[in-house]
Amino acid sequence: MTVLCVVLIFHSAHGTITYWFGGWHPRNGIAIGISFSVEPLGAGIAALIGALMTAALVQSIDYFEEEVPPHFFVLMLVFLASMIGFALSSDLFNMFVFFELMSTAAFGLTGYRIEHRSVLQGAINFAVVNGIGAFLLLAGIALLYGRTGALNLAQIGQVLSRHGADGLVIVAFGLIVVGLLTKAGAVPFHFWLSDAYAVAPAPVCVLFAGVMSDLGLHAVGRVYWVAFSGVLGNGHADAVRGVLIGVGLLTALVGALMAFVQAGLKRMLAFIVISHVGIFLTAIGLLTARGLAGATVYVVADGLVKGALFCAVGHLARRVGHTDELIAHGRGRSLPLTGTVVALGALGLAILPPFGTFVAYSLVERGAGGLGYHWLPPLLAIATAVTGASVLRAAARIFLGLGPAEDDLLVAAPRGEEADEGMRAAPRRGFLLWGPAVALLVAGLGLGFAPGIAAHAVQHAERFVDRPAVARETLHGAPPAPLPHVHEQIGAAGYAYGAGSAILAVALAWIGLYRRRIPEAFRRAAGATAGPAVQRLKLLHDGVVGEYVTWLTAGAAAITGLLALLTR
């Protein structure tokens, strides 16, 4: 599957491949059939899904104590099919169906270890919040169909661009974006994510963290560019940009802060996923080709790194029996390789040059600079630094035994949360446990050395954001627009941010370990300013689904309302 998807990337480089199911080709520019549209960016995401799935399946052979039942693999394969379908589909309703199928397979997999109540509760929270997100998405699709009479994204774009943006279009756009962001786990729709990721088995988390969240964002980009950019692009682009970047930044910073105060590695990684979703959303929200290209490369590179981290956590859980950094303090000394993977992965998260994540970040940085948003890259770099620092601190505690083994600042993982707690720390041959982690890490970091990857991504993104040309190509079979010539050079500012973020990450990790060595006055001042806010933030994540849904409703109302106000 991975190989097929990589082949797709190269094939679709010459022009979008459109496949009409059952041979229902469009007549006179009106699409009746259902289609897949494969362009290089979507195919890249599909290849990432394939790679992560391969790693997850390999790891799950050795991960589970008992014989793995066949239904686990069936669920995984359904999950794989629905994710790839979601990434490639160009029909809005089919996207909804794949979205639901993906969610259903995913919460089946979340609740795989049904021994613990918290696992079941996490799966139910996941199901309920995602279900409501799906209803919002469907309501948006229904309104849009009522307006345009079309479900094909390209055709919706054609019909919409003939009329102005009125209330109905704005509300439909708002509902669709909120539905997709619920899947992605943007603040304030993110509460289910940390509960679900913390309880799912590690191989499943590889997929959840690596790609499922980011798929929602990729879909936001696709829906905006192919369907809405004609009607919202001129005149209202600033409003959409403002809302998306605002939500993205909030997500990036809240996620990073929450990640820093977690002691359980899985929950910490879940918040890192949230934080990075915010970064990708900001990149997409720039609404430029370079931002989109940056987001896509970032999703792939970061997805591989996060996948590697979860694989490593799986190995740790299997060997040590615990993934809470305070409990497993110093017990990972016998696993130097896994420790190296985790530490390198943390530096990858903190965009250390010249690795894959850094190349993607520099694209985003220049995309923001091109719009005059010079304040944006430092904020994103802080978020990456804090997420990297959390993992570095945990790695130092677990694999090197540094720092004290107790810290009242951290949220300990609740009992039963560590789904692997009951597992015996049985010595196994283990290659299948750490092998995938190393492979994913090498791929993720090595992506930065692929020649001209940034330039290629920008070229294809430029072609992708040219909505009329894409519509002509899809609906009328017109030849694709020629690839624009792009020259990408990483500037000094990019290197400065990358190095700065990595250094800040190491410094913050040190502070996290040796807080007591900081003079008392500093500590008290910091505690007084940040303490109550952090405490309140922790209290919000209490696992009560009713509250999550309230937040979701409030967030949906706020986003749609803001869009409506700003486009007035």
Partner: protein
């Protein structure tokens, strides 16, 4: 075209939402989710409905001049129903597991996060551990 179906869709949506937000019982929660989902059926059907038009069934003997309501939304609704049944079935299966393990369905045991429990628990945590020990 009357506005009533749209009002009904909105009403179902918000009633279901209110139910989920205030729900303290898991089966009640699933039913509320179903109510919410019903609002999307009504919305879809309302969008495709044309006053005075026939059902979109074209066989010999049925005059086609009258025109028909939009069959696409009906297909979408059908798909939506199937999807929702799958989701409800899965959640109910999880609910049954919870009931088997803890013997209760109200939302009063410790929430999965380590933060302060938002709802105080009248049964205490001993009930669940006692019941769990009885399970094989």
């Amino acid at each position: 075209m009357s506005f009533l179906p749209y009002a009904l869709a909105a009403w179902l949506f918000f009633v279901g939402l209110y139910g989920i937000v205030t729900s303290r019982h898991l089966v009640h929660l699933v039913v509320c989710l179903g109510v919410m989902q019903s609002s999307t059926y009504v919305l879809l059907l309302a969008i495709g409905y044309r006053t005075g038009k026939k059902a979109p069934i074209f066989t010999s003997g049925v005059p086609t001049k009258v025109g028909a309501v939009d069959p696409v939304v009906q297909a979408l609704t059908l798909t939506d129903v199937v999807v929702s049944v799958v989701a409800s079935a899965l959640i109910l299966a999880l609910v049954i597991e919870i009931w088997k393990r803890s013997g209760k369905l109200c939302r009063c045991s410790a929430p999965p996060c380590s933060a302060q429990p938002a709802i105080s628990c009248p049964h205490g945590s001993t009930t669940s551990s006692r019941l769990r020990s009885r399970q094989p």
